[in-house]
Every structure is written in structure tokens, then in C-alpha cells.
């Protein structure tokens, strides 16, 4: 049976329509950036307009440290990357605790020394940046003003630990930190996601910061 040519040609627009709809729907760029450290299965997402401070830059900054075991510690870092809304944020500013006016997120995967591995606990995870536990249990005159907004266990597929959101005042400037610190089941590796900025800025960017912190996913070493 011979089909009429027009009938046979009817399929052409259909084909084109399907192809085009796919192409159009997927064109444009992704809404978020997805930094990942696939070896340890570490993923998080930051908005597109945040600027990356690369692993290389951060490693270079750490290499500047001069104290005795700095090199050993730097060697234990498997991966680190930082993002900030502000282009001007330098690698040095990522690592020091001075308050910044733009949110900075630092993700870091680090192996532990055997003695660290033996002594690590949820409390020591909380003390990743500042000795928070000591501030709470043994307050002294020098203890800065601080406030804990949230502190809860965080259980990921490949790690478990705590997420703590707190603020403290240093050098007269109040800043807030959203800190997630996780430990691998074999206690050999810690996964840290640190988001901080001045409290004012933190409040302003709370939604974005929370979203980033919640996107932090650790699948663990496969």
C-alpha cells in the first residue's frame, strides 16, 4: 500500500518538535554549582553567583604557615575548596577568624593522625574552629560572648557528626558560623563544611547559607 506523501511527512514535525523541546529545555546553564570530592563522596551546592577560591589557592595559603607540624597537617588535607559572594575574599581571609562582610564557605576533607583518630569525639568536632565546648562547660573571664543557635546530630550515609550554628564576638566584632563537622565510620577522616560571616551578613543570607549547609552530603569512601 502506498502512503500519501503528506501522511508520511507528518512525522517530520513531530520528530523536530521532540528534539527541539529537549534542546531548548536544557539549554542555559545550571542554577547552582556543584563542587564535589568524588573520592570521599563529598558533595554540596552553592549558588551560581558565588566565586570559587580553588583548592590550589587554599593549599598555597596553608603552605605559607611556618610552625613545626604545619607541613604534616597540610599533607593530611585531602581536599578543600571555598566560595564566597565577594570576589575580593582572599585565601588568607578564608582561614583566619576575622569577621568578614561577605559569606564564606569552606569545605574540607582531612585525614586524621592516629592520636587524633583515637581521641576524636562529637565535642572535639564542635571545637573545630573555636573551643566551643570549653566555653560552655568551663567558662572563664576570657571566654568571649557567644550564642549557640542550633546544635544537632547530623547522620550522613558515609559519616556522622554534628552541625552547630553559633555566633561569637572577637575583637569587638560579632560573627556567626554554620559549622558541620563529620567523622568517617572508621574514624580516619573528617569532613568539614564551614560557613561564616558577620552576624549581620549571616542574618541577611540565612536562607542561602542554610541551603548550602543542608546540601552538604557525604557518601564516604567507596
Amino acid at each position: 500500500m502506498l502512503k500519501s506523501p503528506l501522511l508520511a511527512l507528518r512525522s517530520v514535525p513531530v520528530v523536530i518538535a521532540i528534539a527541539m523541546s529537549f534542546l531548548l529545555s536544557s539549554c542555559g546553564s545550571a542554577t547552582q554549582q556543584y563542587p564535589a570530592f568524588k573520592k570521599e563522596g563529598v558533595y554540596f551546592a552553592v549558588p551560581n553567583n558565588w566565586h570559587e577560591i580553588t583548592t590550589k589557592q587554599l593549599n598555597a595559603q596553608e603552605a605559607l604557615a611556618t610552625d613545626a607540624d604545619a607541613k604534616d597537617r597540610a599533607a593530611m588535607v585531602q581536599w578543600q575548596v571555598a566560595y564566597s559572594t565577594d570576589k575580593a575574599i582572599t585565601p588568607a581571609e578564608v582561614f583566619n577568624l576575622n569577621s568578614v562582610d561577605a559569606p564564606v564557605v569552606l569545605a574540607r576533607v582531612r585525614s586524621l593522625f592516629p592520636d587524633e583518630s583515637n581521641s576524636v569525639s562529637n565535642n572535639s568536632l564542635r571545637n573545630m574552629v573555636v573551643p566551643l565546648t570549653t566555653w560552655v562547660t568551663e567558662p572563664t573571664a576570657t571566654t568571649p560572648v557567644y550564642e549557640i543557635f542550633d546544635d544537632q546530630d547530623r547522620i550522613e550515609k558515609g559519616a556522622r557528626g554534628v552541625r552547630t550554628v553559633f555566633s561569637f564576638t572577637l575583637h569587638g566584632e560579632k560573627q556567626s558560623i554554620d559549622q558541620t563537622a563529620l567523622l568517617s565510620p572508621d574514624r580516619s577522616t573528617i569532613y568539614v563544611l564551614l560557613i561564616r560571616c558577620s552576624s549581620l551578613c549571616f542574618e541577611k543570607n540565612k536562607a542561602a547559607i542554610t541551603k548550602i549547609a543542608e546540601s552538604f552530603t557525604v557518601r564516604g569512601n567507596k
Partner: protein, 764 residues
Amino acid sequence: MSEIEQKKVDTLDKYRSRERDSDRKVRVHLSLFDRTKFTSLFLITFLVLVWADMADNPILSFNDALANTFNTRWWLVALLLVEVIRQIHFALAELLSKYHGFWLRYFKFVDRQVHRLSDWTRYRLSRVIKALLFVALLAVILGAVYNETPVRALFFAPKALWSALPMLGQLLFAVVFIVIQFVAMFWFLSRGGIDTYFPDDIRTRFTDVWGQDHVLNRIRENLLFLERPEEIEKHGGYVPGGILLWGPPGTGKTLMAESMAGETGKPFVFVDPGAFNAMFFGVGVMKVKSLFRKLRKLALRYGGVVVFFDEADSLGNRGNISSGGPQRFDGKSQSAIFGDACHGGNYLSESAVSILAREKFVVGGAGGGGGGGGMGTLQSLLTELSGLKKPRGFFNRIVRRTLGLRPKNPPKYRILVVMATNMPEALDEALLRPGRIDRMYRVGYPSKAGRIRTYEGYLAKVSHSLTEAEIDKLATITPYATGATIKDTINEALITAIRNGRTSITWPDVIKAKQLKELGPSEDVEYIERERHAVAVHEACHAVMAHRVRQHMAIDLATIEKGSDYLGMVASIPPDDQFTRWRTEYESDILVSLASLAGERLFFDGDNSSGVSGDLESATTIASLMEGQWGMGSTISSHATARRFEMGSPGGGKGGKSKGDTQANMRMALADRIEQNLGLLIVKAEEILKKNRNEVLALAHALEIHKTLSGEDVAAVIDGTVGSIVDGRPYKEKALLAQIERYHKAAVSAHFEHRTPDVEIPHI
């Protein structure tokens, strides 16, 4: 006409045969599947990649994965776009004839440009491109797998394979274990039997083939066409694809093939007779296919190839039933109609010949099948020789089709098939049809000039003292000599010479060698005198009769040396090539045969020995054929046909219903007529011998003295002249003749009394 029938006719009227491509105004319509398959393929690949991205990153959203894939696999999108554009192009070509025509012209132009390269160059180019394409594709795939750049990924792959090997090995062990036995077995079984020679591998040239110039010229012509095919192709012809060389063994067929291999600038593939013998069904077919794959490859690479099947009869045939044509006959049941003794069936109409042939051969059925090939080997060979000219190659068949181009016809593979056999009737008829084997050449016994050339050729390799006239004579007295027998004779002559302490061959050496080759070594039996005389008289009767009455044959030699299956013999040769035989000649043949019986009776007072049995047999056979088949008797009808239809011969022959017939008919029966003819001839023989009594006894005497005489010497003794060894003049002297006669008498009485004759054989 009923309504339904009317409808049928209408539908038939409306039926149009499928248009040729060149007749179409627009492109032929694609089916829905063909329209969508690549788009779907690319879309599915795209989605798979999106899915892979999402699986890779657990927090990735679908939309972002889509966007990521779009950015990283842009080439896939590009391919998709190209496909969409292609489909639009096709759709336009299906609707607009002008548009289609434009592209058709364009592609024709491109094709022409491409074909400006020679087949060979295109073949090599396509090979390179194919290899690169394959590597590139592999690199891209591996790159995607390893998250590496494609080039780097290429180097990862072997490493990964190596590390995965133990695991893969385990998985595949069972399968491999079972399969590999068969694969290995078939692989090994399908090897061998085929040798390829390249130009300059072989030193033999056409000048080394002697005495077959007519065949050689035709072969040279075929080779010329193979070497310079454009000579015939540009005029619309084609290079003849096959030659069959057939003829008796030893006539130089294989040597000719070897010289072809040496002479041609193309590769020469030699196929052993047993190459297609296989233990398993299908191996032979595999071998044929792989042979022709190789031939096509060689033909493309070198512009032509010669393949030679030695002893092609080993390819077998599919039995007589498949042929049915008139040309076939097998040796056992060869009909005189198609023999070369007369004009055969050529003067008959084709249908008459075919009736005769069928009647004769159909009964045989598929009896003659099999042969070395069998099991489909022959069929696949037939197909390969002239099957469908299908497009070959991945690029040609698949890539070109994908791009909407028609696959190109295969290039002209210039393969010259040469087959040699000494049993052409064992070949399948389909094998010999034009298009497969275009030309059939009989490589017969070499002509006299060829024999002279061959003798000269082989004699040139040794030291000899033969004159030109002697070589000419030698060629004359060896009418059926082939290259092989000539080589052998010369070698035997050299051995004879060396055994006699010489290094140079002389004329007697050659004659001796020839006799040795033809008769075998004599048994060195000494007859007792009276028997020696009887044998000598017997042979002398033959020889004298032959000398007197038979003009179409010359005596080659006469001997009374006992051989393996004879006491003595007179051998004759035709002095010149003659193709018709006549009644008078046959009559003289019978006279020569009957001379022994007539002579023994004449010289031994009516007694005769059983030694005449062979002579009577041949005399009777010839007389029967003359009377029953050759129309040389008193009746005309052919006994062969009469027997076939079981209708009896005139007057009743063997197998006829003559039992209850009248006395008159009985006398006229075939056997009686034969006997009557023989009876008349023996009387004639006796008369001739009576007239030549002296010559017979003289020749018998010479035979007793010399044991073996050449034809020349026989003539010398009979005519009283000087021969090569024997001086015949004394035999005309009365005194000697009287002595011989006395000796004969004594021998005859000794014969009857079983004692030694009391007269010594006279000496000259």
C-alpha cells in the same frame, strides 16, 4: 466477466512496477522508523548521560543535570541538530523534485571526483580512515568512562583491562572453554592448501613450456587482459575470468600454470587439489569463502590476481542429474555418437542431440557426485565465481547508507581463475559455463614440432651426439610423447649411457631407453630353440603382413624378448596425425591380427598355438564394430542403437529375439556375418603370407639373431636393404634362404616331436 474478475484486472492495471532510482523525480519516502531512529538514538544517549550525571552526584537536580550535560556534551547536541537538519533535507527532497535533482547531481559529481582515484588508492585510503575512525570512537567512549581527555583515556584502557582480567577470565572461562575448542579446530582445519606466490617468486617463464604454443598463446592473451584490463574494459568488454586446461596427464598443464605465475606481475594463488577436503560440514565452504576474500583483497591491492586450481576434478560435481546437457559424457559410458572418432552429433539439431544424450545418461542419476568438494563446497565455489555482486565493507554498506547515499557497487575484482584437470568430464557443468570458466583449452599431446622442441630442450641439458635428423626421427616415432615422458626417456638414455661407461648419449641409447619405457624391461628368458623359432615366425608373420598391407601405420619395433604379459610383439605407430579411419585401414588391421593364426597354420602344418588369442580378440572386436556400428559391413543400422532400444539387429543380433527364427535369418545373424567376414580375411591373409614365405622366414631368422628389431630394420630385412643395425641384403641370397628353410623344417619337426632341432640356426 464477473465483477470480481473485473476488479482484479483493474488492480493489475494499476499496478506499477517499482520505479528505478533514475526514474524517480523525488526521493523515496522514508519509513517512520528511518525518520526517527537517529534522533531517538541521540536523545536516548543524551538522557542516559543526564542520568549518569545524576547518579554521579546525589544532590544534583534534574534540571541542573540537564543543563550540565548540555554544556559538556555539546557534540551530541550538535549531532542531534545535524540529524534534524538531515531530516528536513530529506523531507524537502521528498516533496520538491528540483531540490532532489540538485542534490542528486551534486552527489553524482562527488562520486565522480572520488572515483578519479584508482580503486587501489581508495581501498588503502578507506582502510586508513576506517582505522582512525575506530580509534577516535574508542577514545571518546573511553574518555567518557574515565573522565579523562579521550587521548589520555586511550592509554588507560589497557591498564584497566589488565586489572579486570582475572575477573573477566573467570566469567568467560566456561564460555571460552567450550567455544575455543571449536574455534581453534575450525581455524586450524580451514588453514592450508592455499599458497600465494608473488611476482619474482617463480623463475619459470613461457619460454620454458615447449610444444604447446597454441594454448600458450591463448593463455598469454588472457594474462595480457589481466595486466592491462583497460584495453578491453574501455570498449565495454570484461576481462575473461576463467580458463580450463584439460588434457592427458603429463602434457604440461601445471608447468603452464607455473609459467603463468612466473610471467605475470600479479600475485599467483595456488590451490592444492585437496584444499577443500574437510572433516566437518561447512569447513570446505569456509575455506572457499576465505580463499575468495583473500583473492578480492589481493585483486584490489595489486590490480589483479591469478588463482590456479590444480586437479580441478577433485572439486567434484553434483552428479549427472544436474547436468542433462549433451556435452557431458563420462568415460565408462561414452557413446560413439559423441566420441571424436567421427563427426559426432554435430550435424544433428540440438534437440535430437539432447534426446540421444538424455537417453544415455539420465539413468546414471546422481551416482557420480561427491568428489573432494562435497558438502556445499562446490556450490559455494560456484557462487563465489559468479554470484550476486553485493556491496562489501562496513563503510560502504552502513556508513554510506546512513548518510543517505546508495552503497557503491563493488569494484571490478580482476580474478583470473585457471583450472587444470585430466578428467574434464568429472567437472560440474555449472562450473564450466561462460562467466565462470570462459575458455576451455585442450592441452593435448604436443605436435611433432613441439616434440622436437621438447627433445631439443631436454637434450640441451645433457651431452649427446644426436643429429637433427635423428631428433626428427625420434619425434616421429614417439607420437604420444608428452613433456614428462620425453624428459623421462632422455634421462633413461643417460642412465643407459652411464651404465655403459659413457657420459654422452648416442642414438642407440635413446632407442633402447624408448623401448625400455614402452615395453618395460625384458624378462631375460631364454626360449628353447623350437619355441624361439615359433615365436619368431609368429611375430614375423605380423610384421610382414603389416609391412605389406598396412599403409596407415608404420612398424615401430618387433621383438621376441619375453615381457611381463607377452612373448613377443610388433608395435606400430601412426606416421602422421590422422583423425579419420577407413574401412580399408580396419581391414588391414584385421589382416595384421589374423596373420599370426594364418601364419602358424601355414608354417606349422596346420598347427597353431594359443598365443593367437589376443590377436583373434582384437580382430573380432574390429570386425564386430565394422559390421555392427561403423557401417562397414553388409547392413546399415547401428547395433549400438539397436541394443539400446532392445529391438534387435537386422537378422537378429546379440540380445535380439532370434531363437525361433528361420534358418535363413539365423545365417544372417550379426555374429555369423562377423565370422563370415573374418573367414574371408583369413583366407586373404594366408594368400599374402604364402607369397611372402621367404620374407617371413628371413625376418624370423633376424628376430632369432637380434631378438629386437626397430621398424627400420624390419623393413631392411623384408626389402633386402641396409637398416640401422641389420644389413638385409644377405636375406635375398638364395643360399642363405635355403639354409633358413632347412632350419625351419628341422624346427617344425622338432616342434612335433618335442625335441631339439637337429639343424643349427644358420649364421650370416
